[in-house]
Amino acid sequence: MIQIEPEPWAAMIAHARKTYPNECCGAMLGSADDGTKLVRVAMPLENAFAGAQAARYELRPEDLLAADKAARERKMDLIGIYHSHPDCDAYFSTTDLKNSCPWYSFVVLSIQKGEFHHANSWLPNFEQTEAAKEELIY
């Protein structure tokens, strides 16, 4: 289960609406204890995908490294990645899966016509062939 506090949740939605119709992406920092993850800070990161960003995103490893560093400095952990799907459901696409990592929760925000519609959290497997849905509370 992953729970996102109101403040980071609002920040994620604002970020996704701002980048619409392009995809946004960012890191989620917080704590993870005994199967319960709590997101306390959302850290917007730059979508570094070189082509059209309406249906693609890419995180720079340097940015992720910086997010991890920021988490350590605040005595928090990097526990997940979020990105948006503009005008598209919050499923974990093949592209998402192929470029994922089993270590983190992947929260997908469906933004329809510029407004938040729904969201899901996913846990990809090692082989990057499947992602299980994770309970998401916000």
Binding site: L65, D68, H85, T94, T95
Partner: protein
């Protein structure tokens, strides 16, 4: 010795430590030492073959070791090693649609779509703006054409150059009895526009070829493959991969069907599944093997469903999964398909970067190439149906063998013929006299040609293939023999 920062999710394998120091003079040595100290960590970072997992990047301080000396990068006491996953993704639906306003009539027509939240006005506008290419207006193309027209797709291109035949009517429900002899493309277009006059149809009355495929496909958002032969299937696949367009695939045989989406970004293509075509003749077509008439309806509508889902961007597309349908058992199964990194067309180092000669690739003659004057010429080892009739009438001494299957023999037969199905020929050779005059026939002349080859190889001296099979017999000798 260097310090390795442990990402949060991996700390369960390091006794909750967020950083671990491990011995070694290079990054590779440090990581090896670390994973032998914490064996559970190994699976997280390395594959079974001992390679770094594809999503793991290793940083020494602030630098990716790929740009330093990789594993051999020197690691000192004060250095920090970080494991950073590479992460990307995206919804990757076809390009964002142009907006197409709905008229009052359209709002009424599509009302049952508009009141589904997942479709709504916006979804219906996506359908209206969508451009879909149907390759083939036959068994799969029939339900596809009818339902995609009804669903409100704005523009549908059809590639077909065939003519409606009586044998099509058992399954190709887009054509009616009155259409026999008409071009399929005209018959199909008429029905589709009849269902939905808003639909714009583009007729491509041609055989899809390496010369025209890219030019035809480039104007569409996605391609639906309703073809029945391997050369066109590989052609459609390669063209879709080269153009980056999803290929909604379906195939049918007797009671079984398959469907999936190929060439979807990040997903496998037809060549990942079948790098090479089957040997010519091994997999029978509908004309050779038969097909339950309803089957293309089921499979075509699975393709139509996936097409509409892709356009709407809803649900889970049938990507990386091959759906198998068994009508007799009435069961659906799913096989996982993986993208092959070595795939010659969609892999990491593609060797096929333009369209090739697909008939040559599949080892079959190109039916559209200028045909040699086969109709009039009798090749060596062949005999005309009229000559066989004359031999029978004269009472010549010869053996006529029918190598079709028993259920075909029940449909129609030449009474004088002895039935030995092709598959039984090799072990029933002893029933035949090596010196006898032998004529072999089947339905159209293909299987009998194979049988002639088998007999000749076994030392039979006088073996001839009845040209055109029992179909030609019906045309030119005895019209009371039904054709099938």
């Amino acid at each position: 010795m260097a310090k390795v920062l442990i990402p949060t999710p991996l700390r369960q394998f390091t006794g909750k430590q967020d950083a671990v120091s491990a011995p070694g003079t290079t990054v590779g040595e440090v990581l090896t030492a670390l994973t032998s100290q914490y064996p559970d960590l190994k699976k997280q970072i390395f594959t079974d073959e001992g390679k770094l997992r594809s999503f793991v990047n290793v940083y020494l301080n602030d630098e990716d070791i790929r740009y330093l000396s990789k594993d051999a990068t020197a690691a000192k006491e004060a250095d920090t090693i970080s494991l950073v996953p590479s992460i990307a993704g995206g919804s990757t639906v076809t390009a964002p649609p142009e907006t197409a306003e709905l008229t009052k009539d359209e709002i009424l027509r599509y009302s049952r779509h508009l009141i589904i939240p997942e479709v709504g006005v916006e979804g219906q506008q996506k359908l209206k703006a969508a451009k879909v290419l149907l390759v083939g207006a036959g068994g799969l193309g029939a339900p596809l054409g009818l339902y995609l027209a009804a669903a409100g797709i704005g523009k549908i291109g059809i590639v077909d150059f065939d003519v409606v035949d009586f044998t099509n009517l058992q399954r190709q429900v887009i054509h009616s009895t009155n259409d026999v002899g008409r071009k399929k493309i005209d018959s199909a277009a008429e029905k589709m526009v009849g269902i939905n006059p808003n639909l714009k149809i583009v007729k491509h009355e041609t055989a899809l070829s390496s010369e025209n495929a890219l030019d035809i496909l480039k104007d569409y958002d996605l391609v639906v493959d309703g073809t029945d032969n391997f050369p066109t299937r590989y052609l459609v696949n390669d063209a879709c991969v080269l153009l980056g367009k999803p290929n909604v695939y379906g195939s049918i045989f007797r009671f079984e069907g398959q469907a999936t989406i190929f060439a979807y970004e990040g997903g496998p293509c037809y060549r990942c599944l079948y790098p090479e075509p089957p040997p010519p003749g091994l997999v029978p077509s509908c004309a050779e093997g038969g097909v339950l008439g309803i089957l293309p309806g089921t499979v075509g509508l699975i393709q139509a469903t996936e097409t509409v889902k892709l356009i709407l961007g809803i649900g889970e597309p049938l990507v990386g999964r091959l759906l198998l349908y068994d009508a007799l058992g009435m069961r659906f199964r799913e096989l996982k398909l993986r993208k092959n990194p070595e795939c010659p067309v969609c892999g990491e180092h593609p060797t096929i970067t333009k369209l090739i000669d697909y008939h040559q690739f599949c080892g079959v003659p190109n039916p559209n190439a200028a045909a040699p004057a086969q109709e009039t010429k009798v090749n060596e080892g062949e005999i005309e149906v009229t000559e066989v009739k004359a031999m029978l009438d004269r009472g010549d001494k010869f053996v006529l063998i029918d190598v079709r299957e028993p259920h075909e023999y029940q449909i129609c037969k030449i009474p004088a013929a002895k039935l030995i199905p092709l598959g039984e020929v090799p072990r029933r050779l002893h029933e035949l006299d090596k010196d006898a005059d032998i004529v072999i026939h089947c339905k159209s002349g293909m299987r009998s040609a194979k049988a002639c080859g088998i007999l000749k190889q076994a030392g039979f001296q006088h073996v001839r293939n009845m040209k055109g099979g029992i179909l030609a017999w019906s045309d030119r000798v005895d019209p009371s023999v039904p054709k099938y």
